[in-house]
Symmetry: C2
Subunit: 217 residues, 2 copies
Amino acid sequence: MTTPFDDAERAAVYRAIHERRDMRHFVRDPVDAAVLQRLLDAAHHAPSVGYMQPWRIVRITDPALRDALHAGVERERQRTADALGQRRDEFMKLKVEGMRECGELLVVALMDGRERHVFGRRTLPEMDLASVACAIQNMWLAARAEGLGMGWVSLFDIDEVRTLLRMPPGAKPVAILCLGHVAAFYPEPMLETERWATRLPLQECVFDNAWPLKPRE
Amino acid sequence: MTTPFDDAERAAVYRAIHERRDMRHFVRDPVDAAVLQRLLDAAHHAPSVGYMQPWRIVRITDPALRDALHAGVERERQRTADALGQRRDEFMKLKVEGMRECGELLVVALMDGRERHVFGRRTLPEMDLASVACAIQNMWLAARAEGLGMGWVSLFDIDEVRTLLRMPPGAKPVAILCLGHVAAFYPEPMLETERWATRLPLQECVFDNAWPLKPRE
């Protein structure tokens, strides 16, 4: 386990990190079953708080269920647009999901029965979500290495998705993942290309020993 | 951007995913400044909801501050043990952090002013934490590729850490990261070796189209 990564291996890990994109444009070719299995296994090898492994992944193969999930996302997209106020029109022009085109649609949820897990969660119960996000990031990077794109959609009504997938009340859906082949990966984050936001300079996110004093405005 | 990963590159990404560990044992050698910079940059290239980039990372170089953070974690470790009931003694035997030995100590927080960001967060405001967790997972995998170990400590009092680091009320610490050289990476998750928990079979975490019916007990 302690054999160092060689230069090419190290570069490959950084390549996946830097070339991973939140994709919303897919082509309809199916995802190979063995590749999907490797991606799910990559998710399952994420770290988890107190080793609780809180991730549950529902693979959507029923076209009617895919349609119902998509309709819910479309309703939430409208509600989000209304909540955005002056950026409404700008938001409505963005493609925010690829749910009808992607080869595989997955819903990721927090398992039920999480209250039993106290280790690392007494003051921060939301660490279960952090673990699930690490699992999704593993899958995102592995997908990039497999030449597949992935997008995380969080525009949905929680109770609606819970009901559609017959989840118990203690479980909670946190992601609709679009996964599939793409014509090309975006050269930069799509929201940067579309001028929704720009990447912050790294130094604005890293501080020494304390939060910086606010610059006077 | 669309050049496929070759077999060796793909294998390197999976190697990082499978050999990454939540480390609590470190050796004191310093972390190279250029390597630290690459890891911070890897974190900064994570996906974020609505491209909000909510991660803020405080590098702890002040030994008194490191001591104060460690003392707080030790107090929370005791409180967690008390909350665990019958697993108290088992928990107290575990090494849950390497804060005094690790070469670099980082506190990761959610930025303040997050309420302005509505895209992807209207129904799931906690997506900011999910983005921060993706950033930490990027760093974890990059660290593994660099031959460095990392551990995520979530045993702390939020207000106490906020005060120590002079964070504004709207910011929230979510991770104390121990980063540094290690004598060896654990061959399997330490909590598995210590028999705290075992890895679930993958098929218990992956479902088709709906949550499974509970088996009768």
